[in-house]
């Protein structure tokens, strides 16, 4: 791919700013184009070297990673950040023991070094030791309780262990910190839905509804609301009154009617699904 130098730099900048994980593209752009003209880059060059270094480790392109690390070490000797990158280079070679040593020393020397502690969790995860990774991350969060990235990661670790209650707790922390973020509400609702009890299904319905209110284009929340409302409507649990079941059914139907308002985005297959679901909901209503 023959992109101009300017376009390549602009694309690398976009990937850097959006935080997208497209490591192969980054390394290809670097190797095909940008690496030959680093003298044109100015101060942006160091951020670029870092970005390419991490992406190259991600793809296993260790020669490109080494080339970047050499430049960074020359420019910033005795830097903790570079030390951490050296440890990440060891991780990429699967030399996890040596990497762990470095991270442990760094976190003992500087108690406020959150990044090294998080890399320790990453190494435990790479070894497949989920339970220890959870323990390490939990102790990290006691010291750095506002680290949202860490709460999200902890939630995922709990989900991998199928511990839905604790995964939900992590999402609750995130919702408390950022109550207008539709993705947190949607993820919480998905966890509650997966738990499967009647109460959790009702909660899932509410949180999906809230996610839709915050972002009407969130397809996962729309689907989730449809399914959760349908499940609540068909619930035969004695504690749910017939009034609440009728309300859930009406909500499901309302959602169905609202979905086609994004009609320019939907394809015919989705409409088939919606028609199928309308039939199911109407049948359920008839049965009650």
């Amino acid at each position: 791919m023959d992109l101009g130098f300017q376009k390549a730099c602009a694309e690398l900048k976009r990937i850097r700013e959006e935080g997208v994980r497209d490591s192969e593209r980054v390394v290809d752009l670097w190797c095909d184009c940008v690496s030959r003209y680093t003298n044109r880059l100015g101060d942006e060059k160091w951020a670029l070297y870092e970005q390419v270094f991490i992406s190259a480790l991600d793809c296993g392109r260790l020669e490109a990673a080494d080339a970047c690390l050499v430049q960074l070490s020359r420019q910033f000797p005795n830097s903790q950040r570079i030390r951490r990158y050296e440890a990440m280079r060891l991780e990429a070679e699967d030399n996890l023991d040596a990497a762990t040593e470095i991270y442990k020393k760094m976190s003992e020397t500087d108690k406020l070094d959150s990044l090294s502690r998080k890399r320790l969790v990453a190494v435990l995860k790479a070894r497949g030791r989920s339970v220890e990774a959870i323990k390490e991350l939990t102790s990290y969060l006691k010291d750095f309780c506002t680290d949202f990235e860490a709460w999200l990661e902890l939630s995922e670790l709990y989900l991998n262990e199928c511990d839905y209650k604790k995964a939900a707790f992590c999402m609750e922390e995130l919702i408390l910190s950022n109550p207008h973020h539709h993705l947190y509400h949607q993820r919480y609702a998905e966890i509650k839905y997966t738990e499967g009890t009647t109460e959790s299904m009702e909660l899932a319905k509410s949180y999906f509804a809230q996610a839709v209110r915050l972002n009407p284009n969130n397809m996962r929340a729309l689907f989730g609301l449809l399914l959760a409302a349908g499940n609540c409507a068909s619930s035969t649990n004695k504690s749910s009154t017939s009034a609440s079941r009728r309300e859930s059914a009406r909500l499901a139907q309302w959602r169905l009617l609202r979905l086609p308002s994004g009609i320019e985005l939907l394809d015919r297959k989705l409409l088939n699904l919606l028609l199928l679901t309308v039939v199911i909901v109407v049948t359920l209503l008839a049965v009650m």
Partner: protein, 207 residues
């Protein structure tokens, strides 16, 4: 005689899906044609897995989107049945089929209209650009009803249709980075205009 015959399109989509997201686990379902009602239900003929639907690359353990996806698949592929499940694990050294994937597979197997169902696990270590072997491991649930255990099938139980050609096609696809144009259900949910049936990619693979 092998129990299953997997077509190159299915193999290609599984491997491409795994290559698109090398840093996370991915999963999807396997499709085969529904037997016509008048054909004899011969369990000795191999079941032909002709296509797959790549599903998710994040949060494989959450139920609502999985349910939505399966409903969409049943509504779209009326002449096909879901006969199996595939998964690529997150860690390179993790070759275990157990976990959430096994639960999903058990449900699929219980509802499968054909006599047998298949669980394909991607062998992460065996994926390479040269494509010298098919990087897949096969499992099936044991016949005993109560047991949740999966038993590994020997490679002879699952044949690949035109294996040499399949490997060559796969090598070409990997070099061209064809996995960038693969759309899984997660991508479709992020951008509803994307075609999760991957009909264009399927044409490319067939040619």
């Amino acid at each position: 005689m092998s129990q299953f015959l997997v077509e190159p399109l299915a193999v290609a989509k599984i491997v491409l899906h795994a290559c698109k997201y090398p840093h996370t686990a991915v999963n999807g379902v396997l499709l085969a044609e529904k037997p016509s009602p008048d054909s004899s239900n011969s369990s000795s003929k191999p079941i032909v897995i002709c296509n797959t639907v790549p599903l998710f690359h994040s949060n494989l353990n959450l139920a609502p989107m999985l349910e939505a996806a399966l409903m969409q698949i049943e509504a779209t592929y009326k002449n096909y049945a879901i006969v199996g499940y595939y998964q690529a694990n997150e860690l390179l050294n993790d070759a275990s089929p157990e976990g959430v994937g096994a639960h999903i597979y058990q449900k699929i197997a219980e509802n499968c209209p054909l006599p047998r169902s298949l669980y394909i696990l991607v062998d992460n270590k065996a994926i390479d650009r040269k494509c010298s072997t098919i990087p897949l491991i096969y499992y099936q649930r044991k016949e005993a009803g109560q047991s949740q255990k999966l038993e590994r099938l020997p490679n002879s139980a699952v044949a690949i249709d035109d294996e040499e050609d399949c490997l060559e096609t796969l090598a070409n696809l990997l070099v061209r980075q064809a996995y960038r144009s693969l759309v899984d259900f997660d991508n479709h949910l992020d951008d509803i205009g994307l075609d999760w049936t991957n009909s264009r990619l399927a044409e490319q693979i067939r040619n």
